[in-house]
């Protein structure tokens, strides 16, 4: 059923995005605010899937599957999708956090706020447009990825009909567009 397939795609992309948010949000903040030994290496490792051809990564995973027993369930799809969503999300979130003027955060610290309160009351509200933009872009990417994979991977009886590619593209486009719009309209200081 075509709609069935759409639902699976959305669900997978949603979980994958959620999963990568959990990693990208703290990591993006950490990389934007602190320099520590290996911070650029960490960033490079997380960004690797962006430049590595998917075939290479999948080959490694399949090679490892003999050892770790990969099951070809939707969970595996979510995991794989998250690996590919992470770099995009991380880059954009790091940039979003870095764009927040450190003067505001220092002001908050100087006024008695701890790190956690500074993050919740100042950094997050000032960066949220960029963060939402990142999440939408990440979601668009994950969803489009799933669509392409499903189109090729499923057998003829389950294959999504070609017209379903239109909503995929539309959704991805909408995600990117709204995300960009959000990031551009900064809160005036």
């Amino acid at each position: 059923m075509p709609l069935d397939w759409l639902w699976i795609g959305l669900r997978c992309a949603g979980w994958a995005t959620l999963l990568s948010i959990l990693v990208a949000l703290p990591l993006g903040w950490l990389l934007a605010h602190h320099r520590f030994p290996g911070c650029e290496l960490l960033d490079a490792i997380a960004t690797l899937p962006l430049v590595l051809p998917p075939a290479v990564l999948v080959y490694y995973l399949l090679a490892a599957s003999g050892r770790w027993r990969l099951d070809f369930s939707w969970r595996a799809a979510v995991g794989l999708s998250a690996i590919y969503t992470l770099p995009l999300l991380l880059r954009m979130m790091r940039a979003g956090f870095a764009a927040v003027d450190a003067g505001f955060e220092n002001a908050a610290r100087g006024l008695g706020a701890g790190e956690w309160r500074t993050f919740l009351r100042v950094t997050l509200p000032l960066a949220w447009r960029a963060l939402i933009g990142a999440v939408l872009a990440g979601f668009a990417r994950a969803f489009a990825d799933f669509g392409a994979t499903a189109l090729l991977a499923s057998d003829a009886s389950h294959a999504p009909t070609p017209w379903l590619l239109v909503p995929i593209a539309a959704l991805a486009l909408a995600g990117l567009y709204i995300g960009n719009r959000l990031r551009r309209t900064q809160v005036p200081a």
Partner: protein, 353 residues
């Protein structure tokens, strides 16, 4: 009372400040903001010790380094740093998180009244006037009842009206509170007008400290004088000293001048001579022989200013004369040859080069 001794990123300073405004003055990038940031706890110095009243905020030797929130320092940042996503009212409320509701309310109300912010209170910083933003920033820095106020004066963006407002707020801080205020100043006028004490910074070091009046009148050396924007600095040698007649004679590069007696100097001393541009008398050269202390000089540029005309002569001599005097000069000829008179009483001598 704040005692500071610190070394950080090329700055190395030691000073104390009691109540009243203490101005840190120096060229841009000399480390003024860095010193304020180190005291506030945003930058960790390499070594040193910072003591506010009786509390050690930082001590490099015993590794004490209080977080910014526990240092009891108010900070007025250069770009105000009012949180753009909160109303002025919420900005004022922010530092009061740990207090009871009633107390928070009372303090915010008091500050809104004191800084005339009632109209702007429900609006966000970008919706109020620059003057209100300025007052709100200072109010927010004071509302937590700090023991020290750190103020980073904006280098740009203060128009004439806002500058007056800025001086008003600083004057109020000086007169109505007993807080020590450390002011990173960009404007010598601000220092002179408001500061009780002044630290002259150059390359991360303190060149001179003391009341602004004393520093402007008697800069410790030629670097200090240059920092203060004093023009007409000439290297000179003392060729004669006569305490009886209260005179001296100074040899400059191309001419000699009569000056007042210079106590504590010896004949043959190399000194820096300085004269306020406004104290030089300049008249067009009519071909007569220059009298004593008059020097023939070639005019290179005349710059009109609101109240005076600045004349820049060859040899680095700068004179300022009233605009009316300048306009009354005969316009015939090219008016390039002038006589500049150095009145003996106007000559000041700075330390050895």
């Amino acid at each position: 009372m704040i005692q500071v001794r610190l070394a950080a990123h090329g700055a190395d300073v030691e000073f104390q400040a009691a109540s009243g405004i203490t101005a840190l003055f120096g060229a841009a990038g000399v480390g003024k903001t860095l010193i304020l940031d180190a005291i506030a706890g945003f930058v960790t110095p390499a070594s040193g010790r910072i003591i506010l009243d009786d509390e050690i905020l930082f001590d490099g030797a015993s590794r004490v380094n209080l977080p910014p929130g526990r240092r009891h320092c108010g900070y007025v940042a250069r770009h105000w740093a009012l949180f753009p996503h909160m109303s002025l009212h919420d900005n004022l409320l922010f530092p009061l998180a740990g207090l009871a509701r009633l107390e928070r309310h009372r303090r915010v109300k008091e500050m809104l009244e004191r800084f005339a912010l009632h109209d702007g209170a429900p609006r966000r910083p970008n919706q109020v006037s620059p003057a209100e933003r300025l007052r709100a920033t200072v109010a927010r820095a004071l509302i937590g009842e700090p023991k020290l106020l750190l103020v980073d004066e904006p280098a740009a963006g203060l128009d004439i009206a806002l500058r007056a407002e800025w001086h008003n707020v600083l004057r109020m801080l000086r007169d109505e509170t007993s807080l020590p205020v450390l002011l990173a100043a960009h404007d010598p006028d601000t220092c002179f007008e408001l500061a009780g004490n002044m630290l002259l910074l150059d390359a991360g070091r303190i060149l001179q400290s003391g009341p602004p009046r004393k520093i402007f009148d008697q800069p410790a050396g030629v670097e200090a004088a240059r920092l203060l924007g004093i023009r007409n600095l000439f290297p000179a040698e003392i060729v004669a000293l006569d305490p009886g007649r209260n005179t001296s004679r100074l040899r400059l590069e191309t001419f000699e001048l009569n000056g007042p007696y210079l106590p504590g100097r010896l004949r043959g001393d190399r000194v820096w001579l300085c004269v306020e541009p406004g104290q030089l008398h300049a008249t067009p050269h009519d071909g007569s022989k220059p009298s004593a202390n008059q020097v023939a000089a070639r005019l290179e540029r005349a710059t009109e200013m609101p109240r005076a005309v600045r004349l820049e002569f060859a040899g680095g001599i700068v004179a300022e004369i009233a605009r009316r005097d300048f306009e009354q000069q005969p316009k015939d000829g090219d008016n390039k040859e002038w006589l500049v008179e150095f009145p003996p009483h106007a000559l000041r001598v700075l330390g050895c080069p």
